[in-house]
């Protein structure tokens, strides 16, 4: 267990050290920058709330990437899936604004899952039945989703009271309860929902037959086939699950925060989800912890613009990139372990699967 934890922790430390070295080259005191990051992320109830607000979608996208990964698939499409999920939730709320409270958020939540699932099913089906690689397909579908969403937000459900590209507001019955302790930060029921989702993913993967089949296909397609599992079917199911999880980002964003779909609301939650899954070793608990780290980095960095002379909030992107690179450097870790050449890393993320 400790050895499993050691590599991600070292990788984060290395990434942070490299990133802070960059701020030193920019002429700032790295320790000062680090303290600003910490204070910006956890300094007050409101700051903590904002950190948790950013953490929530990252749990969903991290789980999405992790579930697909266990089936041997690389889901770079969480960005498109969460776009479709958020759009579907906002559409439900805009089309039936009169729906009352306990029912309305459930309907919108199901719409979010459905939108994401549909967008995950397409690359799943294409991979399983047409043999085309999900990496390229999901990248392409991200752009298609962005285009479709901006069409809907501009022409079908446009907000007549705003010049911004966004849908009209959802009905009041849809809004989720926000926790008051966070001083107005939009921490809604979406956060506990994300934690429940993490628990359910764990149960699914390690306590059900379907989860066993998913992991079997991910580890060895031929062995799975020999055991009577249809890998194509499992891959489609896994991508549907991945899409549905990413789609749930829409719950926190639309029902818990903006009350509408805003074009470009996501600061690349989908891509950061890849990093979250990788750092969390594709384990639900690890995903939650990694999401909190990246959420804190994102929130902490927003304070940099005001509090330092030359460092901007873009530092969070640099830090995230350096952490991902550190985690992914398989050769570095095998070298550190002193094994030299060990297991092959031909396909996918074996480094995280062990």
């Amino acid at each position: 267990m400790t050895r499993k934890l050691l590599q991600p922790v070292l990788a984060v430390a290395l990434g942070l050290a490299l990133g802070l070295a960059v701020t030193w080259m920019a002429g700032e005191n790295p320790w000062h920058v680090f303290m600003i990051l910490g204070k910006g992320a956890f300094g007050s109830a409101y700051d903590l709330g904002m950190t948790l607000f950013y953490t929530t979608p990252l749990i969903f996208t991290g789980l999405s990437v992790a579930v697909a990964f266990h089936a041997g698939l690389f889901n770079i499409g969480a960005e498109g899936q969460l776009t479709m999920g958020a759009l579907a939730a906002a559409a439900a709320g805009a089309v039936w604004p009169g729906l009352w409270s306990p029912l309305a958020p459930v309907v919108a939540g199901l719409a979010a899952i459905l939108g994401g699932t549909l967008w995950g099913a397409i690359p799943g089906w294409l991979r399983a039945r047409r043999g085309s690689h999900e990496v390229i397909n999901t990248i392409m579908l991200n752009f298609v989703a962005a285009g479709l969403a901006s069409y809907v937000a501009l022409y079908l459900l446009e907000n007549p009271d705003s010049q911004n590209p966004e849908t009209r507001p959802i009905g009041a019955g849809y809004l989720l309860h926000k926790f008051a302790v966070f001083g107005g930060a939009p921490v809604s029921l979406a956060l506990p929902l994300a934690l429940v989702a993490a628990l359910l993913v764990w149960v699914l993967l390690w306590r059900t037959v379907l989860g066993f089949e998913i992991r079997a296909v991910g580890q060895s397609e031929s062995a799975a086939r020999a055991a009577g599992i249809d890998p194509g079917r499992i891959r489609i199911i896994a991508m549907c699950l991945a899409g549905g999880l990413a789609g749930l980002v829409g719950v926190g964003e639309v029902l818990g925060n903006a009350a509408k779909f805003k074009v470009g609301f996501s600061p690349e939650y989908g891509f950061i989800g890849i990093a979250v899954a990788l750092l969390g070793r594709n384990q639900p608990a690890g995903v939650v912890a990694a999401a909190l780290l990246f959420g804190a980095l994102h929130k902490g960095a927003t304070a940099l613009d005001l509090e330092t002379e030359r460092v901007t909030q873009e530092l969070s992107l640099i830090l995230q990139a350096l952490i991902i690179l550190s985690v992914s450097a398989d050769g570095l870790w095998t070298w550190l372990k002193g094994h030299g050449v060990t297991r092959p890393t031909h396909k996918g993320l074996e480094v995280t699967a062990s």
Binding site: L141, G147, R310, T312, A321, L322, L325, S328, K347
Partner: protein
Amino acid sequence: MMRQLLESTLRVSTPLIFAALGGMFCERSGVINIALEGMMLIGAFGAAVVTCVTHSPWLGSAGGVGSGVLLAAVYALFVIWLRANQIVAGTAINMLALGLTPFLCKILYDVTGQTPAIPMAERFQSAPLYLSWITVGLCWLWVRYTRGGLWVSFAGEHPEALDAAGIRVNRVRWAAVLMSGALAGMGGASLSVFLASSFSRNMTAGRGFMALAALIFGKWRPVPTAIACLLFGFAEAMQIRLQGVSLWGGKPIPVQFIQILPYVVTVLVLAGFVGRSRAPRALGTVFRRG
């Protein structure tokens, strides 16, 4: 009208052609290049900064090419030496470029959004356009008739055979990745000192991925890839042209559908609904001797 549309198609295709040819080197050698987007972006930034300093777009593009190569070297270091997963590392490289460019911009010019505007006289008028098509020709010759072209293809199709012939596979891949950084950097340069007049935050806006799409559409071959770039460039030119033009009862034409066309077409081609596109056999795999 037609002439204008043709001209603007050729112009907006230029950065795509450079980047897609760059991607071709990398992917033919067996290394996936999701990082084209980031290499283009850093190239656009480098070119704008060097042009600002030297007042020469030629030196500027050299700066763009140099910054593309530098970022490509980081990518190669991770995916070839450290055996990082190519898709994960590529995503990280894109994030790095997205964060690093405004970060450096702030340090150099004290603004995060944009580099200072480059006056008309210090920008390219049409040179990158011609240069891109010359590059297409050279790439075609290189793939078809040179030993280096053969090595790269073997590194991507049968790395074991290349190794058996005494050629170091990973050296060939290093060279191919650096070359892709150079060309993607030139693609970025043609954005910031040819099509636009400065660098602005995330100015590539997905063009690196579109170049990747063109590469797949063009089946990893130089001439078809360039034609795919033209096709996607035409879609972009149409979309710019139709922006705000009304058609049905005063409603503007939804340009979003033209916007997504290149991506939809790529998905269809890859799935074999329209022709068939096959990737190099060893694409995305790590090569180890012995």
